[in-house]
Amino acid sequence: MNPSLQRYTGVAIALHWLIAAAILGTFLLGQYMTNLQLSPAKLKLYSYHKWIGVTIFLLVLVRIAWRLAHRPPLPPASMPAWQHSAASIAHFFLYALTLAIPVSGWLMSSASGFQVVYLGVVPIPDLLAKSKDAAEQLKQLHEALNWLMVLVVAMHVAAALKHHLMDRDDVLRRMLPFLKQRSAVK
């Protein structure tokens, strides 16, 4: 192995992709379920959506703790400072949104009069009392935060692909679980 190899740790890589898959899945589920007519399936899907949201929130907490204890690899030396700043800001938004979106969903559920019972077993206390107005406002907030997330993820993915395809550096590879480092392949 190349001693200068700068990869994320296996745990960081696993958490990144696990959370990414969960976000994509529950985002699409959220789009789908809201248009369904009331049915037992709809009630189930809403619960699954909420459970995945809680799971993402918990995984992101683990991920932040892991990141604080394990420094991520430095950006390539060739990368301009403004790109470094842009990446830092985007990463901050990704962490903030992956926490804020589940929280907004939980508050929205409480305000709608439906307590979240994680996995159907662990009741999460209602912070808000039932209120139609609050429920409507939180629904709009939950949706707005999601579209902001779509925007930031699009930038994040575009930047990763730009590094991989145009800059031809290791920025994407160091987060890929199975691929070897480009410079080591040669």
């Binding site: 009331l38 189930k44 619960s47 439906f114 019972v117």
Partner: protein
């Protein structure tokens, strides 16, 4: 359609009201219920009901109660479900507009504690139930607080796909509070 069933309901109320019943203060009385959806407790209530209560603390066995609930007045806790629950698979309110409970058998089980046995009819299905309740007296105001658990499938509430009890539990906790005034 809606006004017809309301009219029918009011007529029934007028016909069956006995002279001896205490006055029920409907602003302070309530019939609520808790159903569980995906193990999430969801509270609902019935906004319109009629209660005739002739309770005799000295001779509980002589007590009588008749409750009629306008099922169309249900507030399930979500607008989605309010629209759904009147349909055929649930209450089928166009055919069965009300639920009825009548009891002529009240037994004392402790100090201020009683049990009303009687028949609960919903959707044309009658089941014997026991509803424990407490009685509190303050001046001429008497408050009855109680409840019971009903199994919705025994009354065919939620048929077809909705009979899946993993999504909506069979047990529904019903709670009632009747506040009566002008008691001697």
């Amino acid at each position: 359609m809606r006004s017809t069933s309301l009219f029918r309901f009011l007529t029934l109320v007028a016909i069956t009201l006995p002279a001896s019943a205490a006055n029920v203060d409907y602003a302070k009385s309530e019939i609520t219920f808790i159903s569980r959806q995906m193990n999430v407790p969801v509270q609902g209530r019935f906004k319109k009901f009629n209660a005739q209560i002739a309770f005799d603390a000295k001779k509980p066995t002589a007590s009588k109660a008749k409750i009629e609930v306008d099922l169309g007045s249900v507030d399930t806790g979500s607008a989605d479900a309010d629209a759904e629950v009147g349909k055929k698979a649930w209450f089928n309110t166009s055919v069965f507009p009300s639920a009825k409970f009548s009891s002529g058998a009240v037994a004392q089980t402790g100090p201020d504690k009683y049990e009303a046995r009687g028949k609960l009819s919903i959707k044309g299905i009658g089941q014997d139930i026991v509803a424990p309740f407490t009685v509190k007296r303050a001046g001429d105001v008497v408050t009855y607080d109680g409840g019971f658990t009903l199994k919705r499938l025994q009354f065919k509430i939620g048929e077809g796909a909705w009979s899946d009890t993993e999504t909506v539990a069979d047990e529904v906790q019903v709670k009632f509070r009747f506040v009566t005034t002008g008691n001697k």
